[in-house]
Assembly symmetry: C2
């Protein structure tokens, strides 16, 4: 058995928030309180940036009633960060950890945060500073390796499924072609979840496109034409991360075309391309891809009513609509992280699924390196061979994470 | 007392759907069943278009269990229509009414539908064909004259309030400038409702712009700069219907600039401007206004993180998130319409509010002419003199319609 390591603990939140990210924070606070090895739990404001600036909040001092409300509140309560620390910044962080006798470090985030956690683990070892580091998963993108699914995904999937169900009913009542752009730069899990909106043949989404399958305008227009001819309307769900056969993001192509086409005086007004600290292109926070795709449809198909929506930040932040399973599991991964850490373990908490008909999850600590900076794509088994739809088997995977959807009905069916 | 008019009834749904529009439909079906004067209730598919084509569904044949599910289902179950009938088409409709012995006509829609209903009423009178016509209000825009509020508004307002609450939390965790574009071409009620997201000083939305107040880019940039300096971040909610001091829609200006600036080969790819049958410019289904405004901010203010979202069709169609009060009242206006019609009255059902602290609504039948083609703007008393915010008094007006919002909390406040 590992020797008990006593000292303080630190926790941070990183990357794009989810509606259940604070469930994990509160899970850590609750569990940490139970372990006398953990004297203090310091919350770092805005993640790694808060650690470097020693900008902490004493989390054991927050009353329980408030914690419950915070748990149900979307978006990182400690503040988040998109900064990728440089080597010398990691050294500063380690110094801060030493100074505050921080022996436990919990970092809630995606694959980039797992990487951060892995670097810190390595530096602490080299410096011979004993500390435990546990990465707590969070991402609406659902793209973490070693996990069946990630906390945050179920709620975002619930949101997009209900949004697309409603949008499909709207489109049924005023028929036309509708394009919805869904978050998920590198993996199409969230876009795939829009298939849950479909109850039966004829329901939208009629076409679904993921970053995992190359996307060409020619095939897209042909697909839309075919669906429109068949149903007299067409609802399309497209990931913001769709790429051309050379791997170029269509969001970037669309943005660049607008930027280049605009006169000098308006050059920066639209489609300005932005890279984040991790070198990822900014795809959210603009409607340019949806407008580009509806433009191509208007050009290619003779239909009066063509509309585009970009679901945007609502997918990861909408209040009061979390998936119950997702909220519960997000709380549990926080608790598990603390339990593992006080047992002397480092790693990333992964959610696994038991075999069997009834949904049941369990948790495992996996090596940080298996998650750090990696991307789990949508399994090929879930993507229809046509490349423009999701297989019915996805329902068995996704529905337990999302929970039952509200019932809807047509007058005749 | 009026002589009983026996015959069949017809109902249609028109314009942009809401999430409670089928509550009104089911309210009409329920109530109509109780009155032996009404032999049959014919649902016209896609409104006036269905009447002209005699495309009907016998609504008394739909079983009760299904009706309850339909009531809770967003978007016109009968199908909607945006077509504005010409005079000869109204004549065709009247012929169809005569042919099917339709003596009661219920039309669910906004101010354009009230106009349709008014025209039919007049033509029936001239033709000496006795029939009752009642307009049943519906619009997320909340812009119907004579009403305290319109069915559909409360649910859309609930959606945008929760969306902006979440978006504000997201912006708090990753600070920057965020622009949200909200539906409502001619009246800013729905955009005004975003103020309900604000719990206390410092919460967003920090700036709110309605079509009722002229909007200039210079003032906008100055406002955003000031808010950003004060809060270190800024969440802005803007109506899609904001106009320049000459009354020109900024959505149209933005669309035209892109369209003009684009090279010939891409000319139709973005910002193609579309008019609907009523001569209204299409403002929804494109992200061009949000992209235009974020572009102006990037040009005018030195801030890294500037994002725009267009809430789009989700505002009027999202499944499973209706306001309870709104759903109940939408059902009631349907019932009231039938009761009035069998009493021998024509008109438009209006929701009124009793004076007093506790919210209580009642219903009145008002003359169609008072509602037809008219637009109720946001009362000046609700708009702050600065022109960029909504007064706290709006809370008393709006919150009862929306219902209590989910509780959220910060770690420290």
């Amino acid at each position: 058995m590992a020797v008990t390591l006593a000292g303080n603990a630190c926790i941070g939140q990183s990357g794009g928030p989810t509606v259940v990210i604070n469930q994990s924070l509160v899970g850590v606070i609750e569990e940490a309180r139970k372990h006398k090895e953990i004297k203090k739990l310091l919350g770092a404001r805005h993640g790694t940036r808060g650690i470097m600036k020693e900008d902490f909040i004493d989390l054991f001092k927050i009353p329980g009633r408030r914690l419950e409300l915070v748990a149900a509140t979307p978006a990182a309560a400690l503040g988040s960060v998109r900064h990728k620390p440089r080597e010398e910044e990691f050294a500063v962080m380690l110094d801060v950890f030493k100074k505050h006798n921080i022996r436990y470090y919990f970092y809630i985030g995606g694959d980039d945060s797992a990487k951060s956690a892995d670097i810190i683990t390595g530096m602490a070892k080299i410096a011979n500073y004993e500390m435990r580091v546990v990465h707590i998963p969070k991402t609406i993108d659902n793209n973490l390796m070693e996990s069946d699914h990630s906390p945050g995904f179920g709620s975002a999937a619930r949101f997009v499924a209900c949004a697309v169900r409603g949008d499909d009913l709207d489109n049924r009542s005023l028929p036309g072609i509708k394009v919805n752009v869904i978050m998920g730069r590198d993996a199409g899990w969230l876009t795939a979840a829009t298939v849950l909106a479909r109850r039966k043949e004829g329901d939208g989404p009629h076409l679904i496109y993921l970053p995992e399958m190359p996307f060409t305008i020619e095939k897209f227009i042909a697909d839309v034409k075919e669906a429109y001819a068949k149903y007299g309307r067409c609802v399309v769900c497209v990931s913001e991360g769709i790429r051309d056969p050379q791997g170029k993001l269509w969001g970037a192509i669309a943005g660049r075309q607008v930027a280049e086409a605009l006169k000098d005086e308006y050059k920066d007004l639209f489609g300005k391309l932005e890279m984040d600290a991790f070198g990822h292109l900014q795809l959210s926070g603009t409607g340019v891809l949806a407008d580009f795709l509806t433009g191509r449809i208007k050009e290619g198909i003779d239909v009066t009513r063509v509309r585009g929506d970009t679901f945007g930040y609502l997918q990861r932040s909408f209040v009061g609509f979390a998936s119950k399973v997702d909220a519960r599991e997000a709380r549990q991964v926080g608790r598990v992280a603390v339990k593992c850490a006080v047992k002397g373990l480092d790693g990333s908490v992964a959610i696994k699924r038991r075999a069997g008909k009834k949904y049941k999850a369990y948790f495992e600590l996996v090596a940080l390196k298996l998650v750090a900076g990696k991307n789990k794509e949508v399994s090929k088994e879930f993507i229809c061979p046509s490349g423009n739809d999701i297989c019915p088997s996805f329902r068995d995977y996704g529905l337990p994470l999302v929970g039952d959807l509200p019932e809807t009905a047509l007058l005749e069916e």
